[in-house]
């Protein structure tokens, strides 16, 4: 942090001012001119919260993608299909058992097992052939998309939120002041906040796993130099399979989350694949903190875009990607 400040003093000042303005906009009562300028505070806060929680969902999808890419140089273009598969499986489990929470571990295991299968049956046979692996993942995603369309049809599915999580939650943020002088507090769906906190917990857990444990050490060593790691006698195939399972499982988990937040339908797989691509390109390939920053940025851009410039909301996220590519091709947190 201080190293960054010393190297880029101007950027640090700009970022600090931006953070201060943002904090003021979140906590202060908005004066009239600001409301006239960009609309009511409630809209702004809702966009902010939606953006941050959506960023949490994007992070869940993209972190698995970036982890697999970083270790195996495998651009898994079937990642979106894993997301959708997870969503459907989660829906079936929640529907069958009636317990929303059970859907998560089961989906994680099932989709993770599917990921291991993919790694062992497909990718291990063509190690080092990046392009072929990527082409295979395209083929798998086409086949999976059609099979899922076959099984679940073109309808929308929504994973039902349990009663203890549904409904709004009072927050401490003030959105407006009534004429009588009472403060109006913001209400926000509880399930989104809980899921966001869970995403943060998973992110921190992943960071700890990668940076503080022996397995994490192996994975980081593999990211830096696969060949040297396998030469030291580490069982790299085991690490590969494990990371692939974990990444795929995360995508499946995110599917359940996405099915609760939004809806599951054919085409969502491509959408989430694209978002994880953009998140990973913006954040830097193979970097977990990069995925977090990228997901937050893209989630916020998506939501603020759809509130303040609805026509070009999608384009805005791509614009961010283009700008990052033009000035920092390796991504915000990527290594050159």
């Amino acid at each position: 942090m201080s190293a960054f400040a010393r190297r880029h003093p101007v950027w640090t000042v700009i970022l600090l001012i931006a953070a201060a303005v943002l904090l003021w906009m979140i906590f202060a009562l908005w004066p009239k001119w600001l409301v006239e300028l960009i609309g009511r505070k409630k809209v702004f806060l809702n966009a902010l919260f939606n953006g941050v929680t959506l960023g949490g969902l994007y992070f869940l999808v993209a972190s698995g993608f970036t982890l697999i890419f970083g270790l195996m140089r495998n651009v898994n273009l079937a990642h979106g299909s894993l997301y959708l598969l997870g969503g459907y499986i989660g829906y079936e489990i929640a529907d069958l058992t009636g317990y929303w929470l059970i859907a998560f571990p089961v989906t994680f295991l099932v989709v993770g097992a599917f990921g291991v299968l993919m790694q062992i049956v497909v990718f291990r046979r063509m190690e080092g052939q990046d392009l072929r692996q990527t082409l295979v993942t395209i083929g798998i995603s086409i086949v999976m998309a059609d099979l899922m369309l076959w099984i679940w049809g073109g309808d929308f599915y929504q994973v039902l939120t349990p009663s203890w999580l549904s409904g709004p939650m009072e927050t401490i943020l003030v959105t407006a002041q009534k004429r009588s002088g009472d403060l109006v507090y913001m209400k926000y769906p509880m399930v989104r906040i809980v899921i966001f906190l869970a995403a943060v917990a998973i992110g921190i857990g992943m960071w700890l796993l990668l940076n503080r444990t022996r397995i994490g050490m192996l994975i980081r060593a593999g990211v830096d130099d696969r060949d040297m790691l396998s030469a030291t006698g580490a069982r790299i195939q085991l690490v590969f399979a494990g990371v692939f399972a974990f990444g795929a499982g995360l995508a499946g988990l995110a599917g359940v989350v996405g099915g609760t937040f939004q809806a599951l339908a054919p085409g969502e797989d491509v959408r989430f694949l694209l978002y994880s691509l953009i998140v990973v390109i913006v954040g830097g390939m193979g970097s977990i903190p990069g995925a977090a920053i990228g997901a937050l940025l893209i989630g916020l851009a998506d939501q603020f875009g759809s509130v303040y410039m609805p026509t070009y909301a999608v384009v805005l996220t791509f614009l961010i990607m283009v700008v990052v590519l033009a000035f920092r091709p390796q991504g915000l947190m990527g290594r050159a």
Partner: protein
């Protein structure tokens, strides 16, 4: 040295003595004649919906093959470039949406369309070549998706979701080029031109340098070649091909909409190029032919064996997987394998070329 040495020819010199007509393999002559007389015995459906489509899809896939095969850059943005070409023809030329279309004559609209397509392709390439290898797929896919969403949302220039219809080829020389036979010859002409240009370019200094850049960018940079420049130039050239293909496609369908360059078609172009083979410019056309045949007849075939007709994507996906798994060079690679197996000496049990 009074005695004149008898002239001795190595095989290479002998080859140079042949006229250009003799150097072209016989199979190509047969193919050319069959394609030229095709309208004599094929119906309008075959000419237009199978061969016309094969040719322009092949041209678009050829632009991908050029980048991937010679440049080592698998670009998924080619379909979007084709879309730009088609859109520009609709916007600058004549279409049914006359509030947006400028209605300029074809000799202005088509060059502008190609120039815009090349500009778009160059820009996309400039972004894509900033990163290496496998990243290119991700970035070009993202650019293609951005183009799709942008055209879908923009109503001022691209007329949003519905796009343009009534985009017809000009009635040049008194011929209605949208009719099956003229359109067949039109697409055949451009397919052959594009094929020959790519073939020529692959042996020209630029193409050789590009292949050098593909194989070892560091060494080429050390030799003084501008690696980035060559790659971006390859994108620009490929954009011309894609633009031509896109314009032909727009004329054939008489319309263009965001779905033309959606994620599905973008992936289809890659599938076509890979199924055909990325080693030789004939590959994309073979791939396009197979793809179009499958797309046209798969539904009937699926219904015939008792499956639902809408499992077409499954068939394509499985076929693609099989090809990628067993023959990375596509159908061309299969053909070469077959030929190598046929030339195998049964006594020595090894191929003719292999040591």
């Amino acid at each position: 040295m009074a005695v004149v040495d008898p002239p001795t020819f190595s095989s290479g010199e002998a080859a140079e003595r042949l006229t250009w007509a003799e150097r072209v393999p016989a199979a190509y002559w047969v193919l050319a004649i069959v394609l030229l007389v095709m309208p004599a015995f094929a119906g309008n459906f075959v000419l237009n919906d199978i061969f016309g489509r094969t040719f322009y899809t092949g041209i678009i896939a050829l632009s991908l093959m050029f980048l991937a095969g010679y440049g080592g850059m698998v670009s998924l943005v080619q379909m979007s470039i084709a879309g730009v070409g088609g859109y520009m023809v609709a916007i600058f030329g004549v279409s049914a949406i006359d509030t947006i279309s400028l209605g300029w004559p074809w000799y202005v609209a088509i060059p502008i369309a190609l120039v815009v397509a090349v500009l778009f392709g160059t820009l996309a390439g400039w972004l894509a070549v900033r990163t290496e290898g496998i990243y290119t797929i991700m970035i070009t896919l993202a650019i293609a998706a951005a183009f799709f969403y942008f055209t879908r949302q923009n109503y001022v220039i691209f007329n949003g979701f519905s796009g343009f219809n009534g985009v017809l080829p000009p009635k040049l020389f008194g011929v209605d080029w949208q009719q099956a036979v003229p359109f067949y010859y039109l697409t055949l002409f451009w397919a052959v031109v594009c094929f020959l240009v790519v073939l020529y370019l692959s042996r020209a200094p630029f193409g050789l340098a590009l292949q050098g850049v593909r194989d070892n960018p560091r060494r080429m940079a050390a030799l003084g070649y501008n690696v980035i420049g060559h790659r971006v130039a390859a994108y620009s050239f490929a954009a011309i091909l894609a633009g031509i293909g896109g314009i032909l496609q727009t004329w054939n369908l008489a319309q263009i909409s965001p779905g033309t360059a959606g994620i599905g078609p973008v992936i289809d172009v890659l599938i076509i190029a890979v199924i055909g083979g990325l080693r030789h410019p004939i590959g994309p056309f073979i791939g396009a032919f197979v793809f179009v045949i499958l797309e046209t007849f798969a539904i009937d075939a699926l219904i015939a064996v008792g499956l639902a007709g809408d499992r077409f994507q499954l068939l394509i996906g499985l076929g693609f997987l099989v090809i990628v798994f067993w023959s990375p060079d596509g159908i061309l690679g299969l053909w070469e394998k077959l030929r190598a197996a046929r030339n195998r000496d049964p006594l020595l049990d090894r191929g003719g070329d292999a040591p």
